[in-house]
């Protein structure tokens, strides 16, 4: 009896139960929203959350800080832009090539920096991010410089997906904005599924061991350098794919996608939502995309309020929103 109850509880709080809940919420979201503006926000939340889920593998689970992750996001977006507009590749081929290229890039830069620890790793990733942003700003012939560069609409299997289009499926009419939301939601669900699979595997155990005790991991046979590099590459590829998609979605990108501020925003999402909590960081992403919307009435004070919220959450809920709330609920239940 007691065991049966424990089992039931396990399914409810198991990560895959959470995934089901997430998919359900995303699928039902169209019932709750009506206009293009809301769809736009939702799409942005899904794409941002995808980056955060990948970054969380690196920062939350493996305990390796990156203050330059926007560089990979920007690299994906710009690679897609350049490959589609200057080399005439189809968007999907460009997206995949960009992801592969960014993966290789992450592998190359990760090798020398990932043996650094703590603040030195923060410094190195931060430096790489800043350099990437400066390069994007200055290589005008390739990137369009500070003015940015345009991207063609995404096309899937020969069908173009533009935010301005209208599409017929099985007698139903969808706007481009709605379809983009569905695509971004599907990408997020896949991103979460893959992340959960990684966490729930020997690989995931090894990654969490890096955070828990690197020495324990080493003597248990984990090649720590190799695993750090692996998760760095995986999280970079997550960022690249989301970046490419964002580029096609917005149709236009500037170097700010790779800026230090954007890197900080990404790490903030992870820490705010809850390190090592895949669903927490999705909430974190939603909050960071939505806060500016709620603060439009106090536009002048947006930064003040945002900074204050950030400090307050981190001081009073240092483990992040979702883990702290869950912990309180659990304590309340006992």
């Amino acid at each position: 009896m007691k065991e049966a109850r424990a089992m039931k509880k396990n399914i409810l709080i198991s990560p895959y139960g959470g995934l089901l809940l997430l998919a359900l919420m995303l699928a039902l979201m169209p019932l709750a929203v009506s206009n293009d503006f809301h769809y736009d926000l939702l799409t942005k939340i899904c794409l941002t959350a995808t980056v955060a889920v990948g970054l969380n593998l690196l920062v939350g689970y493996a305990g390796q800080v990156s203050l330059g992750h926007a560089a990979f996001y920007g690299a994906g977006a710009y690679a897609s832009a350049i490959l589609t507009s200057q080399y005439n590749l189809s968007p999907m081929v460009a997206l995949l090539s960009a992801a592969a290229g960014v993966g290789v890039m992450a592998w190359l830069v990760g090798r020398p920096i990932l043996h650094l620890k703590g603040h030195y790793l923060s410094m190195a990733t931060l430096g790489l991010g800043v350099i990437a942003a400066i390069v994007l700003n200055n290589e005008e012939q390739l990137t369009g410089g500070p003015d940015g560069v345009g991207l063609p609409p995404l096309s899937l299997f020969g069908h173009e997906l533009s935010v301005f289009g209208e599409y017929q499926f099985a007698g139903l009419t969808f706007t481009g904005v709605e379809l983009w939301y569905l695509l971004a939601a599907a990408v997020l669900v896949i991103a979460v599924l893959l992340a959960l699979n990684i966490i729930d595997s020997p690989l995931g155990r090894a990654l969490r061991a890096l955070h828990g005790s690197e020495i324990a991991a080493q003597v248990a046979g984990v090649d720590t350098a190799k695993y750090k590099l692996r998760v760095f590459v995986i999280s970079a590829v997550y960022a690249s794919v989301a970046g490419s998609l964002y580029g096609h979605y917005s149709g236009f990108i500037t170097p700010t996608v790779a800026s230090f501020e954007h890197s900080i925003e990404l790490i903030t999402i992870v820490v705010l939502g809850g390190m090592a909590s895949t669903f927490g960081v999705i909430i974190g992403a939603a909050i960071l995309v939505l806060i500016p919307q709620f603060l439009t009435d106090f536009q002048e004070l947006e930064m003040v309020v945002f900074g204050a919220i950030l400090m307050a959450v981190m001081i009073f809920l240092p483990r992040g929103l979702l883990p702290s709330v869950l912990q309180r609920l659990q304590r309340g239940a006992q």
Partner: protein, 264 residues
């Protein structure tokens, strides 16, 4: 009898201080080999040198005839070496069972793609691993804590958890660094039987320990070091009678205490 582990002329300097100096010894296959010595004698440093956490300044270490000097810890694990730590190295962000499962790392496939796609072979192996690790936790006597968070476990259970994790690797040789420190008499007694069971499985055990009763009870062979150098070596009986050991290590009044603590 053949030597499984042999250490030859090993030295380690920290900024001019010799923590280990010109130390040589052999550990026979299947033995429980204890290393004793006063605090600061260099026992833990010796462990760190043998297990690859420190690079020796000089000398060689061989395992099963292969030179392993300065080899990375994870490579040594793959070669069948496992250890525990005096100051626990537990992943507090994981459950107790997961800590033990981490120990089986070398026996599990850990490809990124297989993990992402959750391939059936990987799942099956992981499920089997989970069962084996549950058994191991019972074996070392912390089976009650399987689904606890490691951070919620008492000290004594964590010490046993480390032994379970080390055993999960299915090592040929197991190095235990002060496993009885901080344990009460009953727990120490249980630990003794665990060590004997481990040795009974044919696993070679190297033990660093201060509890002389435990050491004298379980050891086949003893090495006494002081200030990083070898002081004496031999069977428990030989060590017990060794004048230099009694004088230098056990100190004044040791005979009486020893007679009380170590039933002949």
């Amino acid at each position: 009898m053949s030597a499984l582990l042999s250490v030859t002329n090993l030295s380690k300097e920290f900024g001019g201080v010799h923590a280990i100096e010109d130390l040589s010894f052999e550990v026979q296959r299947g033995h429980v080999h204890s290393i004793i010595g006063p605090n600061g004698a260099g026992k833990t440093t010796l462990f760190n040198l043998v297990t690859g956490l420190y690079q020796p300044s000089d000398g060689t270490v061989t395992l099963g005839g292969r030179d392993i000097t300065g080899r990375a810890p994870h490579k040594l694990c793959e070669m069948g070496m496992a250890r525990t730590f005096q100051n626990l190295q537990i992943c507090m962000n994981m459950s107790a069972l997961e800590n033990v499962m981490l120990g089986r790392h070398r026996h599990l496939g850990s490809g990124a793609l297989a993990a992402m796609l959750k391939l059936p072979g990987l799942r099956k192996a992981d499920r089997a691993c989970r069962e084996q690790c549950r058994e191991l936790m019972h074996f070392v006597g912390c089976g009650d804590y399987q689904d606890h968070a490691a951070s919620a476990m008492p000290y004594g259970a964590l010490k046993r958890l480390e032994i379970a994790r080390a055993l999960a690797a299915e090592p040929d040789i197991l190095l235990l660094d002060e496993p009885a420190a901080g344990l009460n008499a009953t727990e120490t007694d249980a630990l003794r039987s665990v060590i004997q069971k481990i040795a009974g499985k044919g696993i070679t055990v190297v033990l660093v320990e201060h509890d002389m009763k435990l050491v004298m009870n379980v050891s086949d062979h003893l090495l006494v070091i002081s200030y990083g150098r070898k002081l004496a070596e031999g069977t428990p009986e030989q060590i017990r009678e060794h004048p230099e050991v009694i004088a230098a290590y056990l100190g004044g009044g040791a005979r009486e205490r020893q007679a009380r603590e170590v039933p002949a």
